[in-house]
Amino acid sequence: MVLASRPHQRTPLWRDERVLSLLGQAVFVAIVVLVGAFLYGNVRAALERQGLVAGFDFMQAPAGFQIGERASFDPSESYARAFTVGVINTLRVVGLGIVLATLLGLVAGVARLSSNWLVARIAAVYVEVIRNTPLLLQLFFWFFAVILNLPKVRESLALPGSIYLNLRGIFLPWPAPTEAFPAWRNFLVGGLILAALIWMGVAWWGRRTGRGGFGPGLLYALAAFSLIAVGGWFVLPAPPLALDVPVLQGLNYRGGTRLSPEYAALLFGLVFYTGAFIAEIVRAGIQSVSKGQVEAARALGLKPMQVLRLVVFPQALRVIIPPLTSQYLNLAKNSSLAVAIGYPDLFSVGGTIFNQTGRALEIIGLMMFSYLTMSLTTSLLLNIYNRRVRLVER
């Protein structure tokens, strides 16, 4: 053999892949460290010129500004507390926004596939208009052109159900707890525990018998919970909740709850914008289920609702969930545009703190950390859910 007769040669160092890769990484790390040191040195120098020392001690100083969304916040409270209020405000709008945007997106996505030509067209126009214009523009439109154009308090627009729209915001009836509420809360907790037990029991029975056909455990659990909740309502001597209706008193409405103009504009803007994107995701998901699946299910004798529930939705969900996750994250991140219409979310409060203290490094770090935590938590939760619904492969 020719090959075997050649004396064994060691690969020279400059052609050994292991050495090369180590060397390459060392050079890369060295460059990163050098650039980092250069930037760090500049920041140190800049901070020294301003006579500042990096650190979060300043967060304990009194804030000295008010936060419009929360009248109870006192200017003498600390910056740290102000920032927390900002975070809570962000979560308030993101939480409700995600729920409403999902509902709107679901309706619009299904409407786009409707056999009714008019409904499908309208949904298409909604999606195409909203998706192709900037969110910031839409927020400005909602705030300056819609909400701030509402009539004054005394000439409020009254909608059915005691809802009043005016310059001060949107006034809604709101359930207020009465003295019977604590007793009812016990009923609710008991119902919740029972519902969880039923859900787990049904799931266990399904696994045990190999027949998921017992019916969806969630439905049974919900039914049990609502039965106990409604039963408790009537068993108690007085209704635990009373509807608090806003009433015009003097120059303002009292009672009920109020959505401030900024909150309402931000919520509408985010919900309509994200809803359009979710509609497209829902449409793509439903269209991804092949027609043969529906036909086969019908041929097996399933009823139309069963076809949707047992065949179409489980398969569509697999396609829908991953992009839906990123839309939720987008909504959370887009809520930072609140600063443009003066809603005190975490970005806006952070900006105010920066303007007062000049602590760029700490504030931006804190803001990024907050958003990053929110993003990572959301994607973690939805990834867990995604793992449950995705296709089980060999």
Partner: protein, 400 residues
Amino acid sequence: MTTLAAPETLRPPRASVGVLGWLRQNLFSTWYNALLTLVTLWLLYALLRPASAWILTEAQWEVVTANLRLFMVGQYPAGQWWRIWLCVYALGLLAGLSWGTWGARFRTFAVAIGSAGIFLALLPFSLDVRLRWFGLAASVVVGWLGGRSPWPRQLRYGAAAGWLLYFPFVLLIVRGFGSIPAVPRVETSLWGGLLLTFLLAVVGILFSSPIGVLLALGRRSRLPAIRVFATLYIELIRGVPLVTVLYMASIMLPLFLPEQIRVDRVVRAMVGFVLFIAAYVAEDVRGGLQAVPRGQYEAAEALGLPGPLVMGLIVLPQALRAVIPSLVGQFISLFKDTSLVAIIGLFDLLNIGQSVLANPDFLGLHREVYVFAAAIYWVFSYTMSYAARRLEKALGVGER
């Protein structure tokens, strides 16, 4: 032989053809569909009647017409507007040239630009401006005629090179040179309106693409140090809102750089956009890289190509082709997101609108300004997404 009696031809039932049939099938197929149609019609009427009355009679469009130049170019000095026209004509010329040399593929694009020129020339601007818009259509025709001339091959390369050089050319022309008196430097603080919107988007696209490709390659690298760095960067940027990145670029960039280097505000915003979009481009490109089958790598290596060439000649071209549609989608959102520079105080199309509204002469005309700005954003975004859909079909992504 038997003859069959010609059967009497029945007319199709009136209820299933024609307008009536269409209505029945699409709007009134069942009772709940009919109810839905009626409710929707009523809602449409309730919405559209006041809306159309507003657009036609109540809206005061003077706020737009009186400030049109502000909306288009901001404070860009009037004596230098010819440069912007030059860029517009160069675009028309290139589109026409590509149509002439490359043929049908560019026809829709070139025709769209030409007819946009004619449409704008028909609007009631001053005669001077209308003639200039007409020049856009003329430049498309000139380019097309040039493309039909007898040197197609050279012109093809010329057109391709022209597209590559077009955007740097625009940037240089708009900025100008300190040393050439005919094309003096125009400070970026004077850039504004739609011009600034476009320039931000163009710079974002130009510079974020190569960085994004590098990051995507880094994230798939076998070297852990590089992979960790790329992954951290991508996930960090994708986890925070664009506003914080812009804010950071506008506030912290001066801190990070030595004292003597001063970066102006537009450039800071551009840096922010590039850093932000690059992470998203990287994720799109990574998707494309994952879609290239392993056999392609193995075959290329079996042919003896060294690593960089395997990437550059075999894998990247296929990966990039697969992700062109999603990249276009990314750039549409970049185009819309340029409006966020309003938050760091630059005067793009939207913020010019805000400053016009702050003028006491135009108080309270929010709807007019926003509808106008939205229409502009919509036209460009919709055109881009339409082009992306056609491109997707032409490239056969997901079909081959």
